[in-house]
C-alpha cells in the first residue's frame, strides 16, 4: 500500500464536466495527494486516446493504482477496468470518482463544484491505495429461459429463443396466449388484420417442442442468481384436461353466461369457454371464482347454484338429476330444510335471497309429475363389511345411503313402526307429505339397505349383540325427544303432553282421542306444528309464548300461516299452573310477562307482571318447550359420557366416539338442530366409517363441515363481472302459491302448491351466478373425451432457468376516473379496446358499429389523450393513441355512413408510414378538431336532433368554443402499467420508473436489461409502444439472452464476503443475518463459513460482525475508512 503508485485522470467530458468544474485545478490538487505519481486532465478519458494515456502511464511510470474522475461508474467503470487489465493492471485496482452525475451536472457554482470534485478525487485516491487485485470467477449458466407474459412481445421472444433449441418457459396468466394484440381488429398504419398476423405466431409457439406453454400461470417467487434462477410458478386449475378436443359441446350445455373479458365485457360467454376461436392452447377452460356461498353454507354441499342455473335455462330434468345425485332426501329438503343456503345468498344483498328451497321442490315435483326416473349415483364395488345404523332419521338415512353407495352391507334399526325418525314422527304431513318421504326411503332401500323397524337399541340390540352379529361399525343417530319437565304444578294431570309426543301421536295415528280445547306452550317449530296439527283435528287452539313475536324461534312464515289458519297466539304469556279436576286438565293458569334485559342466550329475559294472572280453560295442554336426546339406554349400554346438550361425546371432525368402531352424529351428539345439519352429520359419518373400515386415517375429509367463519359475508362477492349490488336491477322473489287458509286448515294436505314453470324460471334467473361456474356438471355429462375435471387443483412448480424476460404488457387507464367524459355513466361512451372489439368481425356485434339501442350512429367522436398527457393522471404520452384513433376513423368511414370527429392535442405521426396514413385518413373526410375535449354530456335542446351526446371543447385553431353532437364517443384511454406491476417488481427485485413502468438499465443504450443481472424487459411493461417497437424490443431482449446462452457462463462479481477463520469467535450472529442463507456454521472448527456461490455481496454480515472477522471484497472496512479520510480531507 505504502509503495502504491497512483495515477489520477480527470475527464473534461467535453464541457459536461469542464464547464462547471475546474478540471485542471482538480488535477493539480490530485498531484499533491499521498502516493499520487501522476495526475492529468483530458477532454474525453473514455476515448481511445484517453484510455491509451492510462495504459502508457501504467507501462512507463509503473502505476499500480488508477483513479478516473469522470462519469458514473454505472457508465464507464467497466471501460476503465478493461483498459487497466489490458495494460497488465488488475481491473479492480482502478477506482472511479463520479464528478459528472454527482457533481458538475447538479451544481452551478464553479467554486463549490470544484471543491466537491477535489474531495471526491481525494476519496478515490485514498481508497484505491487499499485495493487488492480481485478475480472475476465464472459460473455455469442454465440455458433454459423463462418469459413472463405471452402477448406479442412474449410470443416474439419465445420464437426467437426457441431457435437456440433450449427450453423456453412461456408463462401466461390468461387461459390463452395472444395478449392485447389478439383483441385488435386492424393494425395501423398498414391496416393488416391483427389476428391474421398474430395467430400464425401463436400456433407456431404451440408447435415448438422446446417452448413450454404455461397458461393460467403466475410467478410467485424467484430465488437464486443470474444463470441459476429458480422460479416458482403457480398454475391455476383449468378444470379441463389435455384430452379436450375443443369440440365445444360443453359450452352448448353450460347454463351460466357472464360478460366476456376478451370482448371487453361487451359480449357474453359461458362459464366453460374458450377465450376466442383461435385461442392457444386450443382447449376449453372453466372459470371458477369463489365457491358460491349457497354451496358453502349447505352441510351437504348441495349444488344449489347449479340446479338454480339449470332451472333458469328450463333444464328441469337436469336440475332434478343434479339434486338427486348428492341428496337422497331431496324432496324432504325441498319441503322442510331450513335452507341455510338462502341466508348466505348474495342476492339477499340486492333485495331478497333466491328462493332456493322452493326451486328445489319445483325441480323434484316437476320430475315426478313428468315421470322422470332419477337414477341414484353409481354403487361402488361390493364390500362385505356389515354396518349398523341406529335410528332412521335424516342422519341415519343419509349415512345408510352413502355407505350403501360405497358398497357396504347396511342395516338400519328403527325403534318405531314408522321409518324416517323425526321426519315421520315430528313433522306434520301438511309440511311434509308422507308419500314423498316413503318414496325417498324406498330409493335408499333399493340400494340394498335393510331397514328394520320396531327394534329398540338397548332392548333387542346392544353394541355387544351387534358386534357379535358381525357388524364392523355402528353409527348412533338416535336423535332426540322427551320433554324437559318444567317445575310446573299440575303437569301430572291427564291431558298434559309434550310437543314431540303429541306430534308423534298425531303422525303415527296412535292417539286419536278427541282433543277439545287445546293450549300449546312454546314458540319453536314444534309448538307451531303442534298448534296447526291440533287445529286440523278440529280443535280451537291457543298458542302461548312468553316473549314477543320478534323473539319467536319458529320460522316467520309458519307463524303467519298458523295465525291465518286460526291459531290464537298470546305473546308475553307464561303458564304458572295446570288446573284440573278429577285428574284431568280443566285449564291453564297464566301470567303476563314483560321483557327485561338480555339473558345468556342474548334474547331479552321475560319477567312476570305481578297481579296479571288469569286462567285459560282448556282440555289439553301441549308443552312444546324444550327437547333433549333420550340417551338413557345409550349411557347404560355403551358407557358414553354425556354433558348438557351434547348427550353423546363424539369427535366433531370424525364423528368417532371413544369406542373406535362406534360413530355418532346428528342431534344425539349436537343437541337439537336441523334436518339438513343432521344429514350433514350422516354424510360425514359415512365417510369416516369408510375410512375406518378401510384402515385409513380419519383425516382429509372430502365432505363438508359448515364453519361459521367460512360464511363471513365480506369474504363472498358475486363474481367480478356482476354489477355492484346497488346497480343490480331489482326483481322481487316469486311468492309460493298457497291454498286458502280456511281450506288448508281443514285437512293435512300441503299448504304451498309449488311454483309454476314460469315462476320457477323467473325465480331462478334472479341468481347472480356467484363463482361463475355453478358446478352443475352438465359439461362433464356431455364431454365425450371425459376431459372435464371439476376436482382439479392448482399446481405449484419450481422451474430452474438461467434468465428471465418480463413481457407483462399494460392495462388501459380506467376512463371512469375522468368522469367528465361520462364513461360508465353515458351508454354510448366506449374506450378504445371496446370499440376495437365492436369493429372486429369476430366481436360481439360481428363488426357492426351500433349504439346500445341497436342503431347505427350518425356521428362518432374520438377523444385523444384520455388519462395521458394529463397532470391529473399520467404525464406521459401513450404513443399509440393518435394512430389507432386515425385507424378507427378510417374503419368507421369504411364501414358506416357516420361522420367522424377527432379531438386531439397534437397529432403524433412519427413512425414509418404514419404521416402518410394521417394524410390518407384526412383525405377520406375525417374531421379533426385541435383541442382537448372538455366534457361529454347527454344532448339537450336543439342539438338532440343531431346526436344523443354532445362533446364540448375549445377548438384552438379557430379560437372558439364548440359543441359537437354525436351518437357515440370513443375514448383513447392511456396505456398504463399493469395493476400488479409492483408485485412483479418486488419478486424480480427490479425497479419502476416514476410512471410505474419497469425501469430499463439505461433509457437509451440499454432498453431491454434491468439493474438486476439476468432479468430483461420488453414491450409495454417498459413503457407505451406500438407493435413494431414491441416486437423489435422483444427480439433485442431475446438476442441479449441468446448471447448469454452462447457464452454458457456467468461472470461472478468478486464483490463477496469471506470469513477470516482466525478472527471468527463463532458467535453465529451473521448466520441468521444473511438473506440468502449463504453463511453456515462449521461445527468442527467452531467458525462460520461463507458459501461463495450463494453470496451476493451485500455486505450486511460484514457490517454486523462484532469481531471484524468478515471481509467484504471490494468494500473492506479499510477501503471505506480511507475513502472517508479522503472525502473529508478537503
Amino acid at each position: 500500500m505504502s509503495d502504491a503508485k497512483i495515477g489520477v485522470y480527470v475527464c473534461h467530458c467535453g464541457t459536461n464536466i469542464a464547464a462547471t468544474v475546474d478540471v485542471a485545478a482538480v488535477a493539480r490538487f490530485a498531484a499533491t495527494r499521498p502516493r499520487v505519481a501522476v495526475a492529468r486532465d483530458y477532454k474525453f478519458m473514455c476515448s481511445q486516446p484517453g484510455q491509451e494515456r492510462i495504459q502508457k502511464d501504467i507501462a512507463r511510470l509503473g502505476l499500480t493504482r488508477v483513479v478516473v474522475a469522470a462519469c458514473s461508474p454505472q457508465m464507464h467503470e467497466l471501460t476503465f477496468r478493461t483498459a487497466c487489465q489490458e495494460a497488465g493492471l488488475n481491473g479492480y485496482l482502478c477506482q472511479i470518482a463520479n464528478i459528472r452525475e454527482h457533481c458538475s451536472w447538479i451544481h452551478a457554482d464553479r467554486e463549490a463544484a470544484t471543491a466537491k470534485a477535489k474531495a471526491l478525487v481525494a476519496a478515490a485516491a485514498s481508497r484505491v491505495a487499499h485495493h487488492v487485485p480481485l478475480e472475476v470467477t465464472y459460473a455455469p449458466l442454465n440455458p433454459a429461459t423463462m418469459i413472463v407474459g405471452a402477448g406479442i412481445a412474449g410470443i416474439q421472444a419465445a420464437l426467437e429463443l426457441a431457435e437456440t433449441g433450449r427450453d423456453v418457459y412461456l408463462v401466461e396468466r390468461d387461459s390463452t396466449i395472444g395478449g392485447k394484440m389478439a383483441k385488435l381488429d386492424k393494425t395501423f398504419p398498414t391496416l393488416d388484420c391483427s389476428a391474421c398476423i398474430l395467430t400464425p405466431k401463436m400456433v407456431s409457439v404451440s408447435h415448438r417442442k422446446n417452448v413450454h406453454l404455461l397458461t393460467l400461470a403466475e410467478v410467485e417467487r424467484v430465488s437464486g442468481t443470474f444463470g441459476a434462477f429458480t422460479v416458482r410458478v403457480r398454475r391455476r386449475a383449468r378444470y379441463v384436461t389435455d384430452a379436450c378436443t375443443a369440440c365445444g359441446a360443453c359450452a352448448k350445455v353450460c347454463p351460466v353466461t357472464v360478460p366476456s373479458p376478451f370482448d371487453e365485457l361487451l359480449g357474453e360467454r359461458t362459464a366453460i369457454h374458450k377465450a376466442f376461436a383461435q385461442a392457444v392452447p386450443n382447449a376449453y377452460v372453466i372459470e371458477k371464482q369463489e365457491r358460491p356461498p349457497c354451496m358453502e353454507a349447505c352441510p351437504l354441499h348441495q349444488e344449489a347454484a347449479g340446479y338454480v342455473a339449470l332451472i333458469g335455462k328450463r333444464k328441469f330434468k337436469e336440475a332434478a338429476r343434479l339434486i338427486r345425485q348428492r341428496n337422497p332426501l331431496a324432496s324432504v329438503c325441498g319441503r322442510v330444510c331450513y335452507h341455510p343456503c338462502e341466508d348466505e345468498c348474495n342476492r339477499g344483498l340486492v333485495e331478497q335471497p333466491v328462493a332456493i328451497q322452493h326451486l328445489k321442490r319445483f325441480a323434484l315435483d316437476w320430475a315426478r309429475a313428468h315421470g322422470v326416473t332419477l337414477a341414484p349415483p353409481p354403487v361402488a364395488a361390493r364390500r362385505e363389511e356389515r354396518v349398523a345404523i341406529i335410528g332412521s332419521g335424516p342422519a341415519g338415512l343419509v349415512a345408510a345411503n352413502d355407505l350403501a353407495l360405497k358398497g357396504y352391507q347396511v342395516t338400519v334399526f328403527e325403534q318405531w313402526a314408522q321409518l324416517g325418525g323425526l321426519l315421520a314422527t315430528g313433522i306434520p304431513a301438511f309440511r311434509l307429505p308422507r308419500e314423498l318421504l316413503e318414496e325417498e326411503i324406498a330409493w335408499i332401500r333399493a340400494l340394498g339397505v335393510r331397514l328394520e323397524t320396531g327394534v329398540r337399541f338397548g332392548e333387542q340390540i346392544t353394541l355387544e349383540t351387534l358386534r357379535r352379529d358381525g357388524f364392523r361399525a355402528v353409527f348412533l343417530a338416535t336423535g332426540r325427544r322427551d320433554l324437559v319437565r318444567h317445575d310446573l304444578p299440575g303437569l301430572e294431570l291427564a291431558g298434559v303432553i309434550s310437543g314431540s309426543e303429541f306430534l308423534r301421536n298425531v303422525n303415527l295415528g296412535t292417539d286419536p282421542h278427541p282433543l277439545g280445547r287445546v293450549v300449546v306452550v312454546g314458540g319453536g317449530t314444534t309448538a307451531v306444528d303442534a298448534a296447526r296439527a291440533a287445529l286440523r283435528l278440529g280443535s280451537p287452539v291457543t298458542l302461548l309464548y312468553r316473549r314477543t313475536r320478534a323473539e319467536m324461534p319458529a320460522m316467520r312464515g309458519e307463524v303467519d300461516d298458523a295465525v291465518a289458519e286460526g291459531v290464537a297466539v298470546r305473546y308475553l304469556t307464561s303458564p304458572v299452573e295446570v288446573l284440573g279436576a278429577a285428574g284431568r286438565v280443566t285449564g291453564l293458569r297464566c301470567v303476563a310477562m314483560r321483557l327485561a334485559g338480555p339473558d345468556a342466550s342474548g334474547r331479552r329475559r321475560p319477567m312476570p307482571v305481578p297481579g296479571s294472572e288469569q286462567t285459560i280453560p282448556c282440555d289439553l295442554v301441549v308443552m312444546a318447550v324444550s327437547q333433549r336426546a333420550d340417551v338413557a339406554s345409550l349411557v347404560e349400554d355403551g358407557g358414553f359420557a354425556r354433558t348438557g346438550w351434547r348427550p353423546v361425546a363424539a369427535d366433531p371432525e370424525t364423528t368417532q366416539t371413544a369406542q373406535p368402531d362406534v360413530f355418532a352424529g346428528g342431534d344425539v351428539v349436537a343437541g337439537p338442530s336441523t334436518v339438513v345439519a343432521a344429514m350433514g352429520y350422516g354424510r360425514r359419518a359415512a365417510e369416516a366409517m369408510d375410512k375406518y373400515l378401510s384402515g385409513r386415517p380419519l383425516t382429509d375429509f372430502t365432505t363438508h363441515l359448515v364453519r361459521p367463519r367460512n360464511l363471513a359475508r365480506e369474504n363472498f362477492r358475486p363474481h367480478s363481472y356482476a354489477p355492484r349490488y346497488a346497480d343490480t336491477p331489482r326483481a322481487p322473489r316469486e311468492p309460493m302459491p298457497r291454498r286458502e287458509a280456511r281450506e288448508r286448515a281443514a285437512d293435512f294436505g300441503e299448504v304451498g302448491t309449488g311454483y309454476t314453470e314460469e315462476q320457477a324460471v323467473r325465480e331462478a334467473q334472479r341468481c347472480l351466478h356467484c363463482g361463475v361456474c355453478v358446478e352443475c356438471r352438465e359439461c362433464e355429462r356431455v364431454c365425450e373425451p371425459e376431459a372435464v375435471a371439476h376436482a382439479m387443483t392448482d399446481v405449484v412448480e419450481d422451474i430452474p432457468v438461467g434468465q428471465v424476460l418480463l413481457a407483462t404488457g399494460y392495462q388501459l387507464f380506467d376512463a371512469r376516473r375522468a368522469g367528465q367524459y361520462g364513461y360508465g355513466r353515458l351508454p354510448d361512451v366506449y374506450q378504445g379496446l371496446e370499440f376495437e372489439r365492436m369493429i372486429s368481425s369476430a366481436g360481439p356485434t360481428a363488426g357492426r358499429v351500433l349504439t346500445r339501442s341497436g342503431r347505427p350512429p350518425r356521428a362518432i367522436a374520438i377523444l385523444h389523450c384520455v388519462g395521458s398527457r394529463d397532470e391529473n393522471y399520467h404525464r406521459y404520452c401513450s404513443r399509440v393513441c393518435c394512430m389507432y384513433a386515425l385507424k378507427f376513423a378510417h374503419l368507421v368511414k369504411d364501414r358506416t355512413d357516420a361522420e367522424v370527429y377527432q379531438f386531439y392535442i397534437d397529432m403524433r405521426a412519427y413512425g414509418k408510414g404514419f404521416e402518410e396514413f394521417y394524410g390518407r385518413v384526412l383525405e377520406e373526410g375525417a374531421n379533426v378538431i385541435r383541442g382537448k375535449a372538455a366534457e361529454v354530456v347527454a344532448a339537450r335542446g336543439p342539438l338532440a336532433e343531431y346526436g344523443a351526446l354532445v362533446v364540448r371543447c375549445e377548438d384552438t385553431l379557430i379560437g372558439a368554443f364548440r359543441e359537437v353532437p354525436v351518437d357515440m364517443v370513443v375514448l383513447c384511454a392511456a396505456m398504463e402499467p399493469q395493476a400488479d406491476a409492483e408485485r412483479l417488481k418486488r419478486i424480480f427485485t427490479i425497479s419502476q420508473s416514476p410512471d410505474g413502468f419497469f425501469l430499463e438499465r439505461h433509457p437509451k443504450l440499454d432498453p431491454t436489461a434491468t439493474f438486476t443481472d439476468g432479468i430483461y424487459i420488453a414491450g409495454c411493461c417498459q413503457g407505451p409502444k406500438d407493435i413494431p417497437d414491441t416486437v423489435a424490443q422483444a427480439s433485442g431482449a431475446a438476442a441479449r439472452m441468446m448471447g448469454m446462452i452462447a457464452r454458457g457462463q456467468v461472470a461472478m462479481d468478486p464483490v463477496r464476503a469471506s470469513i477470516v477463520a482466525e478472527r471468527c469467535s463463532g458467535c453465529r450472529i451473521c448466520n441468521n443475518l444473511c438473506p440468502y442463507a449463504a453463511i453456515a456454521f462449521d461445527e468442527a472448527r467452531r467458525v462460520s463459513v461463507v458459501e461463495q456461490a450463494l453470496c451476493k455481496g451485500c455486505g450486511t454480515c460484514v457490517a454486523a460482525c462484532p469481531a471484524g472477522a468478515i471481509e467484504g471484497a471490494g468494500f473492506t472496512d479499510e477501503q471505506i475508512f480511507a475513502e472517508l479520510e479522503g472525502l473529508l480531507a478537503v
Binding site: 454527482h102 447538479i106 471526491l120 427485485t989 425497479s991 425501469l999 439493474f1011 455486505g1099 450486511t1100 473529508l1128
Partner: protein
C-alpha cells in the same frame, strides 16, 4: 459567510446511487454539500463508518437505500434502519444531535426526490451548525 456543512452520504448501489445518477442525468440541481460513498447495500454501513465520519469532521451523515420491501438484497435496508435507530441513541449519548444522522429511501427512479432530500438535509444540518465539541466523545465511542 454562512456555514457550509460537509455531509457524507452512504448510497446503496441499486437504488439511491442510481437515483443520484438520475438526478444528474436529469440536471436537477442540489446543494453541493453532500459527498457520496457508494456501498452495495445500506446493510453494509457499519456503525463505525458513521462514527468515523463524524470524527473526521463530517457535520451530517445521510444513509440512503431502497424503499422498504424493494431492497435488492431482500432486507439489508431494514438492518440499516435498525442500526440507525441505535446509532442515533449512541450519538445522543455522546452529545451529538441525532438529527445529524438521517436515513432515507430513494429509488433508482427518484432523481427529484434525491435532490430534495439532499437540499432538505443540508438546510437542516446548516441550521444545526458545525459539529465541534462533540468530536472527542464520539472518537472515544468509536474505539
Amino acid at each position: 459567510m454562512t456555514f457550509e456543512p460537509r455531509i457524507v452520504g452512504f448510497l446503496c448501489n441499486w437504488c439511491s446511487y442510481s437515483g443520484a445518477d438520475l438526478a444528474g442525468v436529469s440536471r436537477i440541481p442540489s446543494a453541493p454539500n453532500l459527498r457520496a460513498i457508494r456501498v452495495m447495500c445500506t446493510g453494509r454501513v457499519d456503525p463505525t463508518f458513521v462514527l468515523r465520519a463524524f470524527e473526521l469532521g463530517a457535520d451530517g451523515v445521510l444513509i440512503s437505500g431502497c424503499h422498504p420491501g424493494d431492497c435488492h438484497y431482500a432486507e439489508g435496508n431494514y438492518k440499516a434502519m435498525r442500526r440507525v435507530a441505535l446509532l442515533q441513541a449512541v450519538l445522543k449519548g455522546a452529545g451529538v444531535d441525532p438529527a445529524r444522522l438521517r436515513i432515507e429511501w430513494v429509488s433508482a427512479s427518484e432523481g427529484e426526490k434525491f435532490a430534495r432530500v439532499v437540499n432538505e438535509f443540508t438546510a437542516r444540518v446548516r441550521a444545526l451548525g458545525p459539529l465541534k465539541a462533540a468530536a472527542e466523545p464520539v472518537a472515544a465511542a468509536a474505539d
